[in-house]
């Protein structure tokens, strides 16, 4: 048992806006109190108390992440930690090793973490790494946007049987991979690239099943709804990173309007085109559309200046990035499912493109009115490492600080962005929403992201400073499941978190022809495909519906 006293509590779900409140913890949960007098007390005087952070989109575990580590040993040269009696060693400042990933997130006050893109065939790998990512509860999204079984089911002419088959495939994929959500990455576009064809638009038929990106996205959105998944489709749309892609993103939003959808790293999809064909911010138009569609959520994908690494299932995007930049390029095509690529990158303030990207991400977060629908992310490590969150929080909360950075950007950035005109500053309450309460709600996690009775006792306590970067750079305390993991800014205990999965309303079963198809063309036997329960030793299944 534990009582946190004297802290200023920010618990937006329960409408507590910075009031001094006691938080009572019994076993793994938050309780009403009172607790017996001998209960251990944490005095949070001068501190801010929030629910543990919830990371909705990050690349931390699995094949492409490890590919990234393997690709750049140089990122470890000045970034390493020795082991202690409690902690494992680790290294790499861009794509930290698994243990270090858990420790660093914990120090930032996070307690729940989702790996954003897992190809089904490599799901065991992701779970193996998540098992070695301590402290946080973790889950992963299953990549489906170029999956043959999905596309074959969508190719079914009869509407009813199409819906049934698709539902069977999606449930089967989620079950087989122990995934939490349906991830779509460049739907149809990755498969098209494997045929050495060009970029796809909403209505481009994609071989070998002649289904279109529109059919894939709307079909999966509907299936996610029918399966009552706690999180809707998690969508990385086509045309990532192209100037002018804003128009395409708006078209995609129109195609999906009316159904729930999460648009991930929206910054990368919101570019207007300058007269010369270069990058300009499309934040105003995107935010305007988005503000009027309460069925959508998004995460920002904010840029952090410095070296980092792009990694995505969007293999064609990585290939064109490599063609543009030269240098290292890793690629992995995955049979019948997807591709993936890894390319190191460095974002620079004096590059006009990077400067526009930097402004655009912040503009989105400032122009989207409802903090419950836009979340803090760097699409770690694509737009920057997650360890930069404290800096980004300060940029959101402090306009003077933001403008001091703005002054250092490429001088022409003003012509292509509107950041200069935005005066909004995030409040602590809004920060609590975009880093924990909002993502928890979007993910359908009812016992996380708030501090009401019955919630998991996942609590972050930050020392109050006017300098918000300093304030959020290291939690004074982190309580996970009622255990004090971080004390005085140092990790005192480490253990395995839970593996978040789904309790689906139907059994995942492949229709006969799809199963036959799988058996004929996969190199893994049907019976060896499904991830066994050994890979999630501490499961927590969230009920759909």
């Amino acid at each position: 048992m534990l009582r946190i006293i004297n802290g200023k509590v920010y618990d937006p779900v329960n409408r507590i806006h910075g009031e001094i409140r006691d938080i009572c913890i019994r076993d793994q949960k938050i309780v009403e109190g009172p607790l017996p007098p001998e209960t251990e007390i944490i005095d949070a005087k001068g501190c801010v108390v929030m629910p543990g952070g919830v990371e909705i989109h990050s690349h931390v575990a699995g094949a492409k992440v490890n590919n990234g580590r393997m690709l750049c040993p140089e990122d470890s040269a000045d970034h390493f930690r020795a082991h202690t009696e409690i902690l494992r060693s680790g290294c790499n400042g861009v794509v930290p090793t698994t243990f270090l990933t858990g420790y660093e997130y914990a120090r930032l006050g996070y307690t729940t973490l989702f790996e954003a893109a897992v190809p089904p065939l490599k799901a065991r790998h992701a779970h193996e790494e998540l098992r070695d990512t301590p402290i946080l509860d973790t889950g992963c999204y299953t990549v489906m946007g170029n999956n043959y079984l999905v596309m074959k089911a969508l190719n079914e002419p009869d509407e009813i049987s199409r819906r049934e088959k698709l539902m069977g495939v999606v449930a089967w994929l989620l079950e087989s991979t122990r995934g939490y959500a349906v991830k779509i990455v460049n739907p149809g576009g990755v498969e098209n690239w494997k045929w050495n064809r060009g970029l796809v638009d909403l209505d481009t038929p994609v071989p070998p099943f002649d289904v279109t990106p529109r059919m894939i996205m709307t079909g999966l959105a509907r299936t996610a709804y029918e399966l009552k998944l706690p999180h809707p489709i998690h969508l990385h749309t086509n045309h990532l990173g192209e100037p002018g892609n804003m128009a395409y993103t708006l078209e995609t939003m129109k195609a999906l309007s009316g159904s729930r959808a999460h648009f991930t790293h929206l910054q990368f999809h919101s570019y207007d085109k300058s007269k010369r064909g270069g990058f300009a911010s499309g934040a105003v138009a995107i935010a305007e559309y988005f503000n009027n569609h309460p069925e959508f959520t998004c995460d920002a994908g904010l840029i952090v200046f410095g070296p980092t690494m792009t990694m995505t299932a969007d293999a064609p995007m990585e290939f064109s990035l490599h063609q543009m930049k030269g240098g290292k390029w890793s690629n992995l095509d995955i049979e019948m499912e997807t591709g993936s690529g890894v390319v190191p990158i460095k974002y620079q303030p004096d590059s006009l493109v990077n400067a526009v990207q930097w402004c655009l991400g912040l503009e989105l977060m400032l122009l989207i009115n409802d903090p419950w629908r836009v979340f803090l992310s760097t699409d770690h490590p694509n737009a920057g490492p997650f360890t930069s969150y404290p800096l980004l929080i300060k940029l959101l909360m402090d306009r003077d600080f933001r403008m001091s950075w703005y002054e250092m950007l490429h001088p022409k950035v003003k012509e292509y962005t509107c950041l200069h005109d935005l005066t909004r500053e995030y409040s602590l309450e809004e920060i609590a929403i975009v880093t924990r309460s909002g993502p928890a709600r979007a993910l359908g996690l009812k016992n996380r992201g708030h501090l009401g009775a019955g919630a998991y006792a996942d609590v972050a306590i930050y020392p109050f400073f006017d300098d918000k970067q300093k304030m959020f750079s290291s939690a004074s305390y982190l309580i996970k499941d009622g255990r004090v993991v971080v004390r005085d800014g140092a990790i005192k205990e480490s253990f395995s978190g839970r593996a978040l999965g789904l309790e689906l309303p139907v059994k995942g079963e492949l229709a006969g022809d799809l199963k036959e198809y799988f058996e004929q063309y996969s190199t893994v036997a049907f019976s060896n495909y499904r991830v066994e329960e050994e890979y999630t030793p501490r499961p927590e299944l969230i009920r759909c519906g």
């Binding site: 393997m70 390493f80 060693s89 893994v524 019976s527």
Partner: protein, 433 residues
Amino acid sequence: MDQELKVHSDVICTFCGCLCDDIEVEVVDNRISKVKKACMIGRNKLMHAQSNNPDITIAGKPTSLDAAINEAVNILTNARFPLVYGLSSTTTEAQREMVEIAEILNATIDNPSSYCHGPGLMARQQVGLSSCTLGEVKNRADLVIFWGCNPLESHVRHLTRYSVSAKGMFHPEGRKSRKIVSIDIRPTPTTKSSDWFIQVTPGNTFEIATLLRALVANNPIGKGDDALIAGVAVSKWRELAEMIRGCKYGVIFFGLGVTQCRGRDINVEQLAVLVSEINNHTRFYAMAMRGHGNVAGGNQVMTWQTGFPLAVNFSRGYPRYNPGEFSVIGLLARKEVDAALIVATDPGAHLPADTGDHLKNIPVIYLEPHNNPTTEWATVVIPVAQAGVAASGTYYRMDNVPLRVKKIVDSDHLSDEEVLKRIKERITHAQNY
């Protein structure tokens, strides 16, 4: 007495990097009695998996498991420069324990890839690699090039399951619709079954890859068509370059003939750049012909836990990477290590004799299911339940697809993972008192 027959299907053969997962195994009274579908080597391995187990010994004398583990802990905690080595033929679950033991001991850890496909990993660190899973080869590849490898003898079912005669989605005819090219220094069964065998002079991999880069890009090469590169006329190489540009989905499988010939990592680097540049024209990939069952998994585990796939030293408490300085062969040749924990590899058979000899002069703890050259001289021998036969766990195929190998019979022995956990716990205990 009735004999109990159990038939296990879709069993995964752990012998080579193919990890064929369609094997049928019959077990009668806990003995493997029949193996179907596997290649000769795989079948032999499975049929003999339960025989020829070593005794638990210290200095050749039989002892108890408890005493052997205590002696192991004693040796490791008293060593000044211990080496943890192997990892290639056991589960990732055991490999994870090995990395942790190395870390607790501030030891050095390495795996056999440092003298097999390690140069390929180092090349990837320089330039990356465009690769794919084996199913992509089966379903899509219309051009397959075997370079410095002989899968017909080393990865027997690779050709029928994945790369040559496999009937894929877009190649329903299998062998007929694929072009198979071999590049090697001598004829082998694989080169004989290829459509085109390009016999090259030894040690010229780098030159060949460089020439192909120029030809694929249509760059001038300053040599006539009759000039010889690696003993083969430029006109022939031009033909190959045309074939490469003309294919829809091509794959190079490369073996030790590429990674271990003169130039080593820069060969693979040049090959990787070639493959990368071919993608300006068509889809093209390369894959290392990984040998031992889970050597790929060892690289993965080391990378996610330490940041590096091989040759890692923990003497400062954090992982440092330096192939050469921290590679098994160099460490042994320089006689730097003073104790070794070896799991799931046979240094007595695989390491060059003169380097391996140093191991005979230092205390060695050896976990292994079967008698082999190393069990003859290792200081502490601990027999273990063989992964994929008497123990389950994760293996990574040569294309890094992870599969779960199964336990199909019971063993009197613990698995590598279980023994290593006990060793780890006692080391921690010993260090704290």
